[in-house]
């Protein structure tokens, strides 16, 4: 099952590598990874998606928690949560512009660049909506695709902060 693990980690040199290295070391795969400093910038929030059984994820979160620079860890998939992903696409089959715009409309599709050679657009949505949209566009019709990886947040009043 797909899991989103949120990690608050000290913004220190080498800290990110410790988390990424741990996945490899313990035999787990990272499907997507997003990281950036938040609030006062002394720490970052990571969102890691991985696949595994409940036991696997429990082991992973316990091991991540042991990393000295890690402040907090949560498996968002344990409860209700929001999950969003941001993408950028580039295509050069200009005659598809209308079709693609229509597909991306429910995902807040925005035209970022348009000229005689290429069109660049952005969109936001759950990973599964993004998958469906890309399929609908047709992978072969894109010349470039960038995905942020899943970002996650607990639903309701539950928060993950330091």
């Amino acid at each position: 099952m797909k899991r989103i693990i949120s990690i608050l980690i000290e913004n220190k040199p080498g800290a990110l590598a410790r988390v990424v290295g741990l996945f490899h070391q313990r035999g787990y795969n990272i499907e997507s990874l997003n990281v950036g400093p938040v609030f006062d910038g002394t720490y970052s929030r990571m969102s890691v998606t991985t696949r595994g059984s409940e036991n696997d994820v429990e082991q992973i979160t316990k091991q991540i928690n042991k990393i000295i620079d890690v402040i907090k860890v949560a498996d968002l998939t344990e409860g209700e949560h929001h999950e969003y992903e941001f993408i950028l696409i580039k295509f050069n089959k200009l005659k598809l512009a209308e079709k693609i715009q229509k597909i991306l409309k429910p995902l807040g599709g925005r035209m970022l660049e348009k000229n005689t050679k290429v069109i660049v657009m952005s969109a936001v949505g759950s990973s599964s909506d993004i998958e469906i949209a890309i399929k609908a566009i047709g992978r072969g019709n894109l010349v470039e695709l960038v995905r942020s990886g899943s970002l996650g947040l607990h639903e309701g009043e539950k928060v993950l902060t330091i």
């Binding site: 040199p13 741990l22 429990e58 000295i68």
Partner: protein, 578 residues
């Protein structure tokens, strides 16, 4: 007074109570070595290989409970320290390794003797630091010692670029009263509800077993373990790392469990109805096939590291907490409880264990028997050693059959006396570890029981022993082969000794010891064994290398049947499977 980075380092180490620095100099560490020259609080021990420095510091730590410190230069110095770090990591030993690094502006340029020490060591350290500002050195040292020694202990690396110890740049020395890290809270107290459940299960158990590992020693909880079992009267089995925490001469002690554990210890585990695991991690050398492990047992697991709990074997009652505090809470709860132990059930259970012991237990009196074969049995060497040292020595070991024979036949009654690489199984550990122990306890007998294979992996440290006058006793159980490898080849590979023998090319260990300025003795007959050992131990101020030729055909038994066996499936001798 303002100090340079090198002097800040010395001052900070001194304030941590460090007495010895085990190290080896080189370009990137030379400012630090100059700072060593300027001070008197710390003694630097010049090893002959950086692996020796890490194992010596590790041995010091295992014997004293205080962190040992090694100092190495960048590049090859740092990479030579890797085996020692991994060894300490696997056994949760607080070891501090300080590595010199090339100057900051050269990092990343493939400069001379540059290696990414932080990157290479990442999976085998508890934490690591790279010094970015010289004035941070005291804080980093304080944090490093705090991290290494608290929670589940482990090794910490501090990488110091050469410019951060520049003698011309001076800084104020600052030490804080207390270290606090917002991302690290190592002190965990056991959950009272879990303690209640554990107490209830233990008191109503009919066939309980205490399975105690190295965590009892690291957590300084041997007294609490003994106190607990004064009430519970349960059989106690130790892992290789736990030996000495519970006294071997106690009637409830079953001996070691696992791969080469005693018959009664493994049978007790397999048939238990409640297992209390304390500071142990259900390693594959213990459980054999996990799905066949202890089928009738409820498992109570106390560990300071939550990641160790339910990693291999699911715990019915997990208790996350310091071992000492958890045992204190458990004892209190048991005393308060209305339930009492089931004396009748325990009597018959302990009786069953005695029956198993009588049936297939180890023979601790082999040394008294007249042997048919002319060759000395390796087990007898350990038994004679035990009597020659009255069971009071600090014993370090290497890896192989000789190590298992010590674990089986030297009865450890005190913690921190048995010093060996359990988790990583590092050949070459024994001699340098013994140096660390001897420096810590110069008045105590320190013995390294080794094999002719292992000793050659760090033999160069005989020179260090000469320089610092470390009168260790080395007992080389010489079977002229990589015995443990050969045992596996006997059992699983039809006796095809692929690359496990070298009888024709072994050195003359007596001459070798002598060439380093030590005393060498050779024993080939059992009739000379006791005499020679006594003679060696009478030479209080000399390192004596006793080379004992033993029967090369001996195997270590019992041995768990693998793969696909449970803990009750054991080879008892070469032909008997129980």
């Amino acid at each position: 007074m303002k100090l340079s980075g090198g002097d800040l380092l010395m001052r900070a180490l001194k304030d941590e109570g460090v007495k010895f620095l085990f190290g080896y100099p080189g370009g990137a560490a030379l400012h630090i070595y100059d700072a060593i020259f300027r001070q008197k609080a710390l003694q630097h021990i010049l090893v002959r290989h950086e692996q020796g420095a890490t194992h010596a510091a590790d041995g010091y730590s295992r014997a004293t409970g205080k962190p040992g410190v090694a100092l190495v230069t960048s590049g090859p110095g740092a990479t030579n320290a890797i085996t020692g770090l991994a060894t300490a990591y696997m056994d949760s030993i607080p070891l501090i390794v300080i590595s010199g690094q090339v100057q900051s502006h050269l990092i990343g340029t493939d400069s001379f003797q540059e290696t990414d020490m932080i990157g290479i060591s990442r999976p085998i350290v508890k934490h690591s630091f790279i010094v970015q500002n010289a004035e941070d050195i005291p804080r980093i040292i304080q944090e490093a010692f705090y991290i290494a020694t608290s929670g589940r202990p482990g090794p910490v690396v501090i990488d110091i670029p050469k410019d951060k110890t520049d003698p011309s740049k001076l800084f104020q020395y600052k030490r804080s009263k207390q270290v606090t890290l917002r991302s690290y809270q190592p002190r965990v107290l056991p959950h009272p509800g879990q303690i209640k459940k554990a107490a209830k299960n233990l008191l109503s158990a009919e066939r309980p077993v205490i399975y105690a590992g190295g965590g009892v020693i690291l957590g300084d909880a041997h007294k609490e373990l003994i106190a607990l079992n004064k009430i519970l009267k349960a059989p106690v089995a130790h892992t290789l790392m736990g030996l000495g925490a519970y006294p071997s001469n106690d009637k409830y002690f079953t001996g070691m469990l696992g791969m080469h554990g005693t018959y009664q210890a493994n049978m007790a585990m397999h048939n238990a109805d409640v297992i209390l695991a304390i500071g142990a991690r259900f390693d594959d050398r213990i459980t054999n096939t996990p799905s066949l492990f202890a089928p009738k047992a409820r498992i109570i697991h106390i560990d300071v590291d939550p990641a160790s709990i339910s990693k291999i074997i699911n715990a019915n009652i997990p208790i996350v907490g310091q071992v000492k505090e958890s045992l204190i809470a458990l004892i209190k709860e048991i005393k308060r409880s209305k339930l009492k132990i089931d004396s009748d059930a325990l009597e018959s259970w302990n009786g069953q264990i005695s029956t198993w012991r009588t049936k297939h237990g180890l023979n601790h009196d082999l040394y008294l028997q007249k042997t048919k074969s002319k060759m000395i049995l390796p087990q007898v060497v350990v038994q004679e050693l035990y009597h020659a040292t009255k069971g009071n020595a600090y014993v370090t070991s290497d890896v192989g059959q000789h190590q298992m024979f010590v674990a089986q036949y030297y009865h450890f009654n005190k913690p921190r006396r048995w010093i060996n690489s359990g988790g990583l199984g590092t050949m070459g550990f024994g001699l340098p570890a013994a140096m660390g122990v001897k420096l810590a306890y110069p008045k105590h007998e320190v013995v390294c029981v080794t094999g002719e294979g292992s000793i050659q992996m760090c033999i160069q440290e005989l020179s260090t022993c000469m320089q610092y006058n470390l009168p260790i006793k080395i007992i080389n159980i010489n079977n002229e082969a990589l015995g443990m490898v050969r045992q596996w080849q006997d059992m699983n590979y039809g006796g095809r000794y692929s690359a496990s023998t070298y009888a024709d090319s072994l050195p003359d260990f007596v001459k070798l010891a002598e060439s380093y300025g030590h005393v060498g003795m050779k024993v080939t007959k059992q009739s000379e064994l006791r005499k020679t050992l006594n003679k060696a131990f009478a030479m209080k101020d000399r390192l004596v290398f006793v080379d004992v030729y033993v029967d090369p055909n001996e195997h270590v038994y019992p041995m768990l049947v693998a793969p696909n066996g449970s803990m009750q499936d054991m080879w008892i001798t070469k032909n008997i499977k129980a």
